[in-house]
């Protein structure tokens, strides 16, 4: 079976848990930007956590299913419509053959997810169905969806009424889509290049997410950061925010020229010559993915122990989604 794409939306891509293990050769981990929302969508339709979903950014697709399908939409708050009738978000939905799924205007956040029982059935590339558009690999022909595409969907295995998972995600369990967020960071690896004042500005200022934000990274506006003066080493370039090229960590924050910090996200390049002054902890990467332009953001410094504890808590939260499957 398949989804026929009438309108593609702004940047609708196939995503799953990602493609870890190849960052050292320049291929990013990718995967759904908001992993928690994507996973909740999979649970609603009776999938496992590994099936591929459609990630919709700001403007979603208009599509028609050629067979009956069990679907769910999670993530950024948006009006979900089947044949122009508004449906519940964060809930299991029945799409009949020929039904049209479409969306209204986003009222917060950035990305929402369409899961379908059986998953989006594109070929797996290096162990993942995720689309890496910059590398033109994975997903549907290595690109965002276009009008006229026929997107393959895996077989439906359980009728709507027999799906054993909860039919909706309780409001208390859903992630928030706030206009003010605090993001936890671990200073380093190059925080020593900032002056004391520069580092304290990074960790105390109010930052605003600019519209320059996508799967590769997010750029923030705020005050300028000051760097310690030094004789730049050979190969580091002349700007004090430059370093001799190094590997980038997912979530690392670079500040070209000391202005407008950029946080690297799931489709980021794997290395380059900007000092990474801090790194967002893995548990807060989804939070960044949910931030809409204009979101007021504070960076709070945490220790490695706190970061690992937050990761454990996030993993427990994700495990709770799958209690029904045990």
């Amino acid at each position: 079976m398949a989804f026929n794409i009438l309108e593609p939306g702004l940047a609708t891509t196939v995503q799953d848990r990602g493609r870890p293990g190849y960052y050292n050769v320049g291929i990013p981990q990718g995967g759904a930007m908001d992993q928690l929302s994507a996973e909740m969508a999979n649970s609603l339709v009776g999938n496992t956590g590994t099936e591929a979903v459609l990630e919709c950014t700001y403007i979603g697709p208009k599509l028609v299913s050629d067979e009956d399908a069990v679907v769910a939409v999670t993530g950024a708050p948006v009006e979900v419509k089947i044949n122009d009738v508004v449906q519940e978000q964060w809930a299991r939905l029945q799409l009949r053959a020929g039904d049209q799924l479409s969306f209204g205007m986003l009222s917060g956040g950035t990305r929402y997810y369409i899961a379908v029982q059986g998953g989006i059935d594109v070929p797996s590339v290096l162990g993942s169905r995720s689309t890496y558009t910059l590398g033109a690999m994975g997903g549907f022909n290595g690109r965002a969806l276009q009008a006229g595409d026929t997107v393959p969907v895996g077989a439906q295995h359980t009728p709507y009424d027999d799906v054993p998972s909860p039919a909706r995600v309780d409001e208390a369990e859903r992630p928030a889509f706030d206009r003010e967020v605090t993001v936890r960071v671990l200073p380093g690896l190059y925080d020593h290049r900032l002056t004391e004042d520069g580092l304290s500005t990074l960790l105390s200022a109010e930052w605003t997410l600019t519209p320059v934000a996508d799967r590769m990274g997010l750029r923030y506006a705020g005050p300028e950061l000051s760097w310690k003066p030094r004789q730049q080493p050979f190969g580091a370039g002349s700007d004090p925010s430059n370093i001799v090229d190094a590997g980038y960590a997912v979530g690392s924050i670079q500040v070209p020229g000391g202005k407008e910090p950029i946080i690297l996200h799931r489709d980021a390049v794997s290395g380059g010559g900007y000092a990474m002054v801090a790194t967002v902890i893995s548990a807060d990467m989804d939070l960044l993915a949910r931030s809409a332009p204009g979101t007021t953001t504070a960076f709070r410094s945490v220790s490695m122990d706190e970061a690992l504890q937050a990761r454990r808590e996030m993993n427990e939260r994700r495990a709770r989604i799958w209690e029904w499957a045990r």
């Binding site: 702004l10 940047a11 950014t57 700001y58 205007m105 986003l106 009222s107 996508d214 809409a292 332009p293």
Partner: protein, 79 residues
Amino acid sequence: MSDIISPLPGIFYRKPGPDKEPYAEEGERIEAGQTIGVVEIMKQFSEIRSDVSGVLEKFLVEDAGTVNPGAVIATVTAE
């Protein structure tokens, strides 16, 4: 009066390019479906169109201004 709304966040531009003429001016007659500007987000430009024919009364967002989903970009007095 009808509102022209941005469905997405980004930067609103009244012109197709820096050296080009604006898509539309205040006080001008526009047709339903006519483009009155573009919104740039993620290196993509989405055209903003009027749903109705009428006179474009006023732009409520300045050129190169930031918009959020649901923002009223301009008002049109429909015929």
